[in-house]
Amino acid sequence: MATLSFKDFKSDQEVRWCPGCGDHAVLAALQRALPQVSAACGYEKERYVVVSGIGCSSRLPYYMDTFGFHSIHGRATAISTGIKVANPWLTVWQACGDGDALAIGGNHFIHAIRRNIDINIILFNNQIYGLTKGQYSPTSKLGAITKTSPYGTVEHPFNPGSLVLGAKGTFFARSLDVELKLNEEIMTAAAMHDGCSVMEMLTNCVIFNDGAHRSLSDPAVKADHTIVLRHGEKMIFGKDRDKGLVYDGRELRVVKIGENGITEDDILVHDAHTNYVGLHMALADMKGPDYPVALGVIRDVRDITYDDGVRDQVKEVTAKAKIHNMDELLHSGSTWEVK
């Protein structure tokens, strides 16, 4: 198999996102991650299908030189599900925004997760409706001032991580648009995960919600405001790598190594593969100012997948069947002769 490079995944279409939009970086990470996935799994390019709904980020399939389906608002997850069930050999990627996946398409989103169908969902979360020019989304912060909330929103946002884990998600990762390296790592891990993978990408909408994630992306403070979780590694963060997370039997706590007798040995080790969802939920829920925001692969566990289930059931009942074609079926059961 010929080695693929990121150029193989670039289409000849002009990318039409605003200059400075976070989506550019996510696209670049995907175009860099897929050659690595191909190298690791032996996937040819024609095996990839990229699906999207409606919204700025949903333009992504046009920029990938793969099979692509730009569908309708909110329904990408249902389209992806149909593609994967129809041909489980395909590897399906999906781009959708916070409005697309969590508002109009919320139902499909939770059910794809519940079914654990093997698709890879990149959730572009810019906390705003960009394509319709600046209305609040289901992830906009309480009180957010937007065109449809001139006096501030009066509704609570979804935390996509808790939603995914609450629906018994088997894979959830979070990152920022600017974290190119981490995003390649997450995307590769998602591709390797057999089941529904959700990657929340906190993206910057330079026009309508600029700086929404600045406290997480600003080089001056990001080390103290985020923690990158990696399976098997200590939960340590901070500019001086001197802060960590411990579990006190009741809740997660941020501690300083070297203070109050705390040593590195006391710091939690991230186990992304444990079935126990409680700690993953607590990690996904963390937010400032008391906690760092968790990035990286928070949960990655194995469970049966829907697409395997469908395929195996067809195989199983076919092997046992006494009827093998339509003619046999038509003559099965109660029939009678007219002579």
Partner: protein
Amino acid sequence: MQHKVIDAKDVVIRFAGDSGDGMQLTGTLFANTSAVYGNELSTFPDYPAEIRAPHGTVSGVSGFQVHIGSSDVTTPGDYCDMLVAMNPAALKANAKWCKRTATILVDEDSLTEALIQRAGFKTDNPFTELKVDDRNLIVAPITTLTEESLKDSGMDKKAIDKCKNMFTLGMACFIFDRPLDYTFEYIEKKFAKKHPEVVEPNKKVLRDGYNYAANLQMVADTYHIAPAKLKKGTYRNITGNQATAWGLMAASEKSGLPLFCGSYPITPATAILEELAIHKYLGVKTLQAEDEIAGVCTAIGAAYAGNLAVTTTSGPGLSLKSEALGLAVMTELPLVVVDVQRAGPSTGIPTKTEQTDLGQALYGRNGECPMPIVAAHSPAHCFNAAFNAAKIALEHMTPVFLLSEGFLGNGSEPWLIPSMSDYPEIKPPFATSVSEDGKFHPFERDENFVRKWALPGQKGFEHRVGGLEKNHEGVLSSDPQNHQLMVDERAAKVQKIADFIPELEVDGPEKGKLLVVGWGGTYGHILSAINEIRSAGKQVSRVHFDYIVPVPRNTRKVLESFDTILVCELNSGQFAGYLRTLYPGLNIKSFGKVQGQPFLVNELVNAISKEI
């Protein structure tokens, strides 16, 4: 009264009881017995939306009408020769369907003051109050006799009471000269594995019912309905929903593509999804989606990936699918959308039949968004209609409507089993070459305006589809001229299908004063009405549309040959309006009915006679 054996050409029997009384099963078994006996038949289940409505109330009455005969049975019949009423409510709800000469069988044990009151009678004599006391009444203590029959069976009273319907079926089998073998066989097959202890009691109570009726010869007439002169071959009984499922599976076999059905349960279409789910061993994949929208969208995804994709629904579900159907039109993917129509608008009367979704199928999408429409005209015809809908979808790269109706989906009729070798192969236009620039252009078209189908996984054919307007190469375009061109081509593609469907066949003279037009499930009723009018010596022609979009090529020629065109349909004139739009200037009249019920033959006879 002297007992008579009546030689009848046909009879109509209506079984009615509480929705938990097992009347649908009783009717089905009676119908199947008659089919095996060799009669022509047609059935009409008429049941409430409530699964177990309050016991003994009129709203909870479930009915099943069977029309059996030795020839020309094309409808379930307007009025019945015999009504079986398991309680006063069933009698009250159905007395209006009894002929003057009808026999009415009632469970005497149900004629209690409480049940008579619960059925809403004002007096203690339901027969007088309903003015049916002059009919041939058989008042038999069915509950007591069933209990007596099964007192040594070891079953409890509740279980025994559930066998009342078998006792009644036994009686009906005697009165209509039906053998019990079929039902014996059914009972054995149904219970032998899981509940072997109830096999013998059920057979006993059936036989006891039969014998009891035999001893009733003093008061009741019996009927003899000779077997029909049917075409030779092997037959089976089939409902419309089952035939729809099988027709789709047949198309899957003939195209070599796996069948994928993405669907959400909805009355009266659910049985198609259930039927398909049984046949996974023939490679069928069914996905019970989280909602109607996911049903159609998973199907569109499956179509993109190369399956024969189907979604099944009824009116309200179709409303939810509208936007996605636009996507299927725009991406030009093959998809069969089955709409088993029910009484609307909104939730309407879910278990009752209508043809009121035609307008929605024709026009219910945003933009210029044409879709072919195929309509089934009888329960067994659903097989061919589904097969043809799938063939059009796959060979012309378009979503296609298959309009069925609750009346067809739940109704059944005997069916001469076809051979799959009589059906054509289905050949989708798979892409085999790329364009000169080395790329696959997804929306370049052939002489029938059909695009090529390249499947994900096909090396070198990577391409994008979507809901945005694009040019032939698949590149997004908001150019005004290009949009006009693509709109025109999508419409031309659908119209071109007319070259691939049969022309209309006129029943009767091809020129004249009056042409009666129908489509869909009114076929049998219109046919019966026309036959009745002709037997009275009058002349009238008839035509039935199985294809609505596009209409058959000779439609204009056929319609223009008549002074008046009378369109009979179960709506307020939707097809008539469509024909007026296509052929302005013709004298197109409409006879519509929107009552959640099929036409009665006699109301059609009256309506048609007025125009002659």
